[in-house]
Symmetry: C2
Subunit: 193 residues, 2 copies
């Protein structure tokens, strides 16, 4: 019912697309408050006027940044889940895709969790995107395990959620190597019992 209730509010012209790409990289690597609009404009090869013509405010750039990552993550995950042959396969695939996603472009952990650390106000338009993705992931886990254990689906979904979130944090802080793989093993142990 709400797979894409965070519609693109801003039409992405070529310059806007470059700006969003630069903003996304900078926001993720350095943090939202640490990156100014002048830097975004310079890195994107775009003038500040274009930035404000397209996005209207820095806050809106932040919203687009998170909405964009959310959208790409869900699409990436959905494509991989499409070819899964069983609920167990699907759950383990989530952890596989997470590991690949982290290895590829998220060495500093989950962008939603990181953004949440900088956004205190629940009324902030980005707040919905952040908690929305997490609630969606919880629902996904729960739905995936329901065929395996209809009565314990809620509980199992939450357990998988904890393992997954914990692994993302452990990966980002480099607490120990192979956090996603370890979480995957624990998920498998949890479901094959």
């Amino acid at each position: 019912m709400s797979s894409t209730d965070t519609p693109r509010r801003v039409p992405l012209t070529p310059a806007a697309r470059r700006a969003l790409a630069a903003a996304g990289r900078l926001f993720y690597e350095r943090g939202i408050h640490a990156v100014g609009v002048d830097l975004i404009a310079a890195e994107a090869g775009v003038t500040k006027k274009t930035l404000y013509d397209r996005f209207g405010s820095k806050e809106q750039i932040v919203v687009e940044y998170l909405a964009d990552r959310d959208e790409r993550w869900r699409a990436c995950l959905a494509a991989r889940l499409d070819v899964c042959v069983s609920p167990l396969d699907s759950v383990l695939t989530v952890f596989d895709v997470s590991r690949e996603w982290m290895d590829a472009n998220s060495p500093r952990g989950c962008s939603m969790v990181n953004a949440h650390a900088e956004i205190d106000d629940p009324a902030h338009p980005a707040y919905t995107i952040i908690t929305g993705q997490k609630l969606w992931m919880l629902g996904l886990f729960t739905d995936l395990v329901r065929p395996l254990a209809p009565d314990a689906a809620e509980s199992l979904g939450r357990s998988l959620m904890l393992l997954h979130e914990g692994a993302l944090v452990a990966f980002g802080l480099r607490i120990f190597p192979g956090a996603l793989e370890h979480a995957r093993e624990q998920a498998a142990a949890l479901l094959t019992r």
Copy 2:
């Protein structure tokens, strides 16, 4: 060997103590980059000159903020673990203390994880404190389960770490109620098998 390798670098005069208390509250609630030294000084009822006389820089205030929270957390936990009667009791107590700690003064999740989202540079003096606490927690979990399963202690310690970190994130983002309690149950199930 390194329970307090983050010594207090700054002597805490009364005014410095007030400043650190105000800075801690503000940093945690609004984020580090979002809080200026003028605000800290005003909230603490202290002049900016006193701030810089005591701490020298905002960065040092951040370091003291994290070191202080780390110290208090470890002391709080150690006091409660002292009276535990078994390894299982100890592990479950960690989750209990975490829940109480979160309920009491950490509605926005782990301050170390949140700070990490704003500090990109591993050379930053706060980085050691952040990863230090997490490595200490991992070591604690591992040591606690060693009597229960000497051969699986490393693996079990990591599993408990994932559950615990995941619960802190889930709590901070309010993904579902009772995250710490659920993690505690999962930890119990993991160890009583």
